[in-house]
Amino acid sequence: MEPDAGTSTPGRISRDDVAYVARLARLNLTDSELDGFTGQLADVLDHAADIEALDLDGVAPTSHPLPLSNVFRADVPTVGPADEADHRLFCDEVLAAAPAAEESRFRVPPVLGEAP
């Protein structure tokens, strides 16, 4: 984020921070929602401040409880669930669950500028 970039002990989350984060997360907030969420997020982050005091130098981060390694399937060609007909049926089922589909694709409103 722009404000305070690079600091290790951030200040209290501001209303502007929340508005910025909401925009990143594709959420539209009303003014009163913005006020409410700012206080609530600050409470949670204040609680997290108790780990500020810990000496964590030299501690390795844990991102996952298991010693994970990549899992590979056998290197044989597959087409969908079983065969091509099944695959088409599966695609049809997936597309049928979409809000809008056209020609075997998900249909969305214009992404860039005006629609052609």
């Binding site: 984020m1 722009e2 404000p3 305070d4 970039a5 690079g6 600091t7 290790s8 002990t9 951030p10 989350i13 921070d17 929340v18 984060v21 909401a22 990143l24 997360a25 594709r26 959420l27 539209n28 907030l29 969420f37 609530q40 997020l41 409470d43 949670v44 982050l45 609680h47 997290a48 401040a49 108790d50 780990i51 500020e52 810990l54 964590l56 501690v59 390795a60 981060p61 844990t62 991102s63 996952h64 409880p65 298991l66 994970l68 990549n70 899992v71 399937r73 599966f90 089922e93 997936v94 669950a97 979409a98 809000p99 809008a100 998900f106 969305v108 409103p109 214009p110 992404v111």
Partner: protein, 485 residues
């Protein structure tokens, strides 16, 4: 009747699966109006399935270890062609194109799925008040919450709607509602049960597990759904552990440590534990000692930081996982002039407040400039917790704590104060961060007459000894739990 007896009766031809399913559907019809445990009851499909189970028995076959036993599924497990909502408006109308692995395992074991249970939206909550479809009420006292996020699954079992259900547990979402509703709830070792088809909340923490009215039934269900699944890359490459076979082995010689920091008994620990909950924990420890276990105080110091780390790590993972709900491929779409505005309009209308809070919290914690301060530090705290547990398990086989700091609280009491709500999870979160199994066993009631749960914790893959201790606690508490017959 227990799930173990029901399955036995169906397999031997003594009872029909149809009669069992009809009996439970009647209980649902009778009591669901007061409890709201379900988002969907699949009565017709359940009866058809029961008939197929009965047909197998009639032909001399064995339908499997869960023959004819009703099971309810938390509504974040995909069921092909059957609505799966995650308690959210954003999945409105969505029918998954495939079954979760647990659904296939239940089918292979002869179980009968009777419906999808209510939950906090996307499993974010500790009271089931965050469901878009209204709260579930606690069958022990309908003015109280059932806990959460798997409150519907816990309530369905406690109310006698089903002998078994599955929930998911990211920070306590199986164990805490089990404690508050007076039933058994198990979070297995991370990777013990396939998460294929479980809608992800926080992928490094999520785990599916059973609810039941007694320890043996929970073991029966866990045995049926556990075991390696190539479709989940985090699945442990081992077969399901034998649990029913070891249940009666007792705890003679097992070393059990009561975690001071998360039971309100240590000088440096957390506060806020109700005295009646602490008394039941002390009695549970005595019961294990009386059965031959060596019970002592244990210290797992960094567990006090679990809550802080969790409420950074889980929202961070959630903010990424929930990015997929954008109005393009499934569920709700709110139209707008361009795709970015459509994404935002859809997410704004589709998500409830708690989900929005966590997405924003996670987005903030992962953003440049704050990543190291929040997410990076939390991951290091996670390491401390893993190391502290490892040290404790050099001296102990099992650990003990309350499951939740209090009995079930009144509906509405904490829903407007997220931080107060999060404090419900202080005892359960450390096991998720470490990836260890833990289970809640009902152990008496509090001063208000509501159930108290005791949590048994074990190291990774320690389910067999964890279940042995649970069975001893159950016997000491006076048999199986729940308010239902």
């Amino acid at each position: 009747m227990s799930a173990v007896s029901l399955a036995g009766a169906v397999r031997s031809g003594e009872r029909s699966a149809r009669s069992i399913v009809e009996e439970h559907l009647a209980a649902v019809a009778d009591g669901e109006g007061q409890i709201h445990a379900f988002n969907l009851v699949t009565a017709d499909a359940a009866l058809e399935r029961a008939d197929r189970v009965d047909a197998v028995v009639a032909q001399g076959g064995d339908p499997g270890p869960l023959a004819g036993v009703p099971v309810a599924l938390k509504d974040n497990m995909c069921t092909r062609g059957v609505p799966t909502t995650c308690g959210s408006r954003i999945l409105d109308g969505w029918r998954p194109p495939y079954d979760a692995t647990v659904v296939e395992r239940l089918d292979a074991a002869g179980a009968v799925i009777i419906g999808k249970t209510n939950m906090d939206e996307f499993a974010m909550g500790s009271s089931t008040e965050n469901s878009a479809f209204g709260p579930t009420l606690n069958p022990c006292d309908t003015t109280r919450v059932p806990g959460g996020s798997s409150g519907g699954s816990a309530a369905a079992v406690a109310a006698g709607f089903t002998p078994l259900s599955l929930g998911s547990d990211t920070g306590g979402s199986i164990r805490q509602p089990a404690a508050l509703c007076g039933v058994v709830g198990v979070k297995p070792t991370y990777g013990a049960v396939s998460r294929y088809g479980l809608v992800a909340f926080a992928s490094s923490l999520d785990q599916i597990g059973p609810f039941a009215r007694n320890v043996a039934d929970a073991a029966l269900l866990l045995e049926a759904v556990a075991g390696h699944d190539p479709l989940d890359s985090t699945s442990i490459p081992a077969s399901a552990p034998d649990l029913l076979g070891v249940l009666d082995r007792g705890v003679e010689g097992l070393r059990v440590g009561v975690i001071e920091e998360i039971s309100g008994s240590g000088p440096t620990g957390l506060e806020g534990f109700a005295p009646d909950v602490q008394s039941r924990l002390a009695e549970a420890a005595e019961a294990l000692a009386a059965a031959g276990a060596v019970v002592e105080k244990a210290s797992v110091p960094s567990t006090v930081f679990g809550l802080s780390a969790y409420y950074v790590i889980a929202p961070a993972e959630a903010s990424s996982n929930l990015a997929r709900f954008d109005g393009v491929r499934f569920g709700l779409r709110v139209d707008a002039d361009n795709t970015v505005e459509m994404n935002a309009a859809t997410r704004t209308a589709g998500f409830g407040d708690e989900v929005k809070r966590r997405i924003m919290l996670g987005t903030y914690a992962l953003s440049a400039g704050y990543y190291d301060a929040y997410y990076g530090k939390s991951q290091k705290v996670r390491t401390l917790i893993v190391e502290d547990f490892a040290r404790a398990y050099q001296s102990f086989d099992l650990l003990l704590s309350p499951t939740a700091p209090t009995t079930a609280f009144p509906i509405g009491e904490k829903v407007d104060d997220p931080m107060l709500m999060y404090l419900n999870d202080v005892c359960t979160i450390p096991s998720n961060l470490a990836g260890h199994p833990a289970m809640s066993v009902p152990f008496g009631v509090g001063d208000d007459g509501l159930p108290v749960g005791v949590q048994v914790l074990a190291p990774a893959n320690g389910e067999p000894s964890m279940f042995r201790a649970a069975a001893v606690l159950e016997a000491a508490a006076g048999g199986s739990a729940g308010v239902a017959p």
